[in-house]
């Protein structure tokens, strides 16, 4: 009975929201996890707010480092640590992304944005850093 109701409600919500973008955004005050799973999509849903599209970085009174062509991305451990714990003006983001999402976005920045470092990381590895 209960299950039946929630499925109906879910279907109604889908019909209502319609546009694809609604699914790309989290709802307010409920789940804090982002819906994206693909590395590039995750980058553009959260990292680009500070590191900018294409990892260009930005400079004002303070700066966000460029991730494009960034030698510090050689080892995956460094971005994994930063995403989970934050560092200085970078907030901890581990509550918005699960282990698999963190692995995806780390693989994305290390293999794209003008970077071409070896090796892949995965959810199991990220889990050890939590």
């Amino acid at each position: 009975m209960k299950r039946h109701i929630s499925l109906t409600v879910f279907a109604a919500a889908l019909a209502l929201s319609g546009a694809a973008s609604a699914q790309d955004f989290v709802q307010s005050g409920t789940s804090e996890r982002l819906p994206q799973t693909d590395g590039e999509a995750i980058y553009n849903a959260i990292c680009s707010g500070c590191h900018m599209p294409d990892g260009a970085g930005a400079i004002g009174a303070g700066a966000y480092p460029a991730l494009a062509g960034n030698a510090n991305l050689e080892a995956a451990d460094y971005p994994i640590y930063l995403i989970i714990n934050g560092q200085k003006a970078m907030p901890p983001l581990g509550s918005y992304l699960d282990d698999a999402q963190i692995a995806s976005v780390v693989n994305y920045i290390r293999h794209n944005l003008g970077n071409n470092f070896e090796g892949e990381t995965d959810a199991a590895y990220v889990a050890q850093s939590r």
Binding site: E32, I46, M52, G60, A61, A89
Partner: protein, 537 residues
């Protein structure tokens, strides 16, 4: 209570307990920062000779300008360095004709009609923020009511009530009434023996009857009495107009399952209770008044890049904020630094190791505000909403209606999104045009008039604000680091909202500055003994 007939009493009480607990939790989180009242003790009276001492103030936000004003009044030589082209920092209002370029070179031209505005950051001042209100009074900043709670505004969950927004007053009355009914019946049937003595039980039932608007059978049912709280199905008229008819009530089950109780209490936290105020014409009226009062002592477009303290003074070096490389160095006997730690941590300095650790232990919360101008004030004309806030589970979190110029024909500006957390990160990550498009898409689920009436809009994504890199400071471990940051480091004291127990409020910025000024003055006049303990603000 026909709608809940199928449920057992225990089931209902469990639901209510769940709702109440979650509601308290949400309310605690709903206002940013912490809920606390101000320690303000009235205008500073600094006695004693500053002996010609000079003070350099970094940042011309409210903290910096409060320090500048009070020190200037006490006879100090004061100079202020500010990165922006104008004073106020986060106390900032965007109006038609302004341009705002966020990090990433995303430029927005504000096209609002004359008189309309968006408060990009602070927008409301609670009654118990005594320092802000006192400066407003002393500087002649005119205040008007900020409508926080509007019983005609909406509560909306896209996944409940077929996505239809519900009026606040209906949910409010029905939620309260049915919870009162449950409780009254439980007491009446001696179900709460252990909690209520026999003498108290009758008094409690009487009060619950009144509180929940229950009938003589202790039921919350469709009635004239209840309609006086939740509204009528047929409104009262005159002459031979139809007689008023009471409205149907919404079942507790639907309210609880639709989570519409979630935002009922926001307006009841001490930071949001009526009376609550806004400056007439925009929050930056406060910044403008401070800038006028402190006079011509601010160097604008000055990006501080280095701070070097010694035993006898402080030197700060700046370059042009517009990209120059030519360095200018300013010296003073003392320094009050209000630069947000997100930025200070990137500035070359010789602060103590403890101070540097403290600076590095603060990051800044995310936040997004989107102002949307509409050709007509349809929320007033069609929905009868005059000011106040509608809440939704959609990523925009809320829609706030302007608290001024009621009934005017002209275009009006809504706050079409004000989010934190994950949704805000997402809004920060996309270009300004896309933010507006999303705000329109979501908002039109509550107000279908949106698309037809939209004129223009602007957004402030706080992680992309070039001179703060976020909304307000969050300490990873305040207990470990805050006291170190409060201490004078050689000749420098920190101030700003992050240096207070009222972070994310202008009151906190001002209180931190007043506290720093008092301690600096005590040091200069040799009255250190009278200085309050570091945590004393």
């Amino acid at each position: 209570m026909e709608n809940t007939a199928g449920m057992t009493r225990r089931h209902l009480l469990t639901m209510v307990g769940y709702a109440a607990g979650a509601s308290a939790m949400y309310t605690a989180m709903a206002g940013m920062g912490y809920a606390g009242t101000s320690s303000y003790e009235g205008p500073l009276e600094l006695t004693g000779d500053p002996k010609g001492a000079s003070v350099l103030i970094l940042g011309a936000g409210l903290a910096g300008m409060t320090a500048a004003y009070e020190l200037g009044k006490a006879g100090y030589k004061v100079q202020v360095l500010e990165y922006r082209e104008k004073a106020g920092g986060r106390c900032w209002t965007l109006r038609g004709g302004d341009t705002y370029t966020e990090l990433g070179d995303f430029k927005q031209d504000v096209k609002f009609a004359e008189g309309n505005y968006l408060n990009g950051g602070p927008w409301r001042i609670p009654t118990d923020h005594h320092a802000v209100l006192d400066y407003c009074k002393r500087f002649g900043v005119k205040l008007e009511p900020f409508i926080q709670q509007n019983y005609y505004a909406y509560l909306h969950n896209s996944e409940a009530f077929e996505g239809k927004p519900q009026r606040f007053r209906e949910i409010q009355a029905d939620y309260r009434g049915q919870i009162a009914e449950l409780l009254a019946k439980a007491v009446h049937q001696d179900k709460l023996d252990e909690l209520v003595t026999e003498e108290d039980a009758e008094a409690l039932v009487t009060s619950l009857k009144s509180y929940g608007v229950l009938n003589d059978d202790l039921e919350y049912v469709k009635s004239d009495a209840v309609s006086l709280y939740r509204g009528w199905a047929v409104e009262p008229g005159g002459g031979d107009d139809p007689a008023p008819e009471p409205s149907d009530i919404i079942s507790l089950k639907d309210i609880v399952q639709g989570r519409l109780w979630k935002d009922l209490l926001v307006g009841e936290t001490i930071d949001h209770q009526q009376a609550i105020f806004q400056p007439v014409g925009g929050m930056d009226m406060i910044a403008q008044a401070f800038a006028r009062e402190i006079g011509d002592i601010v160097t604008y477009n000055a990006k501080v890049i280095r701070i070097n303290g010694t035993d006898t003074g402080v030197e700060a070096t700046y370059v042009s904020a517009n990209g120059g490389t030519e360095e200018t160095t300013v010296t003073a006997d003392y320094c009050i630094c209000t630069i947000p730690f997100s930025i200070l941590g990137q500035i070359e300095n010789n602060f103590s190791g403890e101070m540097q650790s403290a600076i590095d232990s603060v990051y800044y919360e995310t936040s997004i505000k989107i102002g949307l101008e509409f050709k007509r004030r349809f929320w007033e004309q069609d929905d009868h909403i005059f000011g106040g806030i509608s809440y939704t589970n959609l990523p925009i979190t809320l829609i706030s209606y302007p608290s001024s110029d009621f009934f005017s024909d002209g275009p009006g500006v809504l706050l079409g999104c004000y989010s934190w957390g994950a949704a805000s990160y997402q809004f920060n990550a996309i270009a300004p045009e896309e933010r507006i498009e999303h705000a329109l898409e979501y908002g039109s689920q509550i107000h279908p008039q949106y698309r037809e009436e939209y004129s223009n809009g602007v957004s402030v994504a706080w992680h992309r604000v070039p001179w703060v890199l976020g909304c307000y400071g969050i300490w990873h471990d305040k207990a470990a680091n805050y006291a170190d940051a409060v201490k004078m480091d050689q000749r420098t004291l920190m101030a700003g909202e992050h240096m207070s127990d009222l972070p994310a409020w202008q009151e906190g910025a001002i209180l931190s500055a007043l506290n720093a000024v008092k301690r600096l003055h005590a040091t200069v006049t040799g009255a250190e003994a009278a200085a309050p303990a570091p945590e004393g603000n």
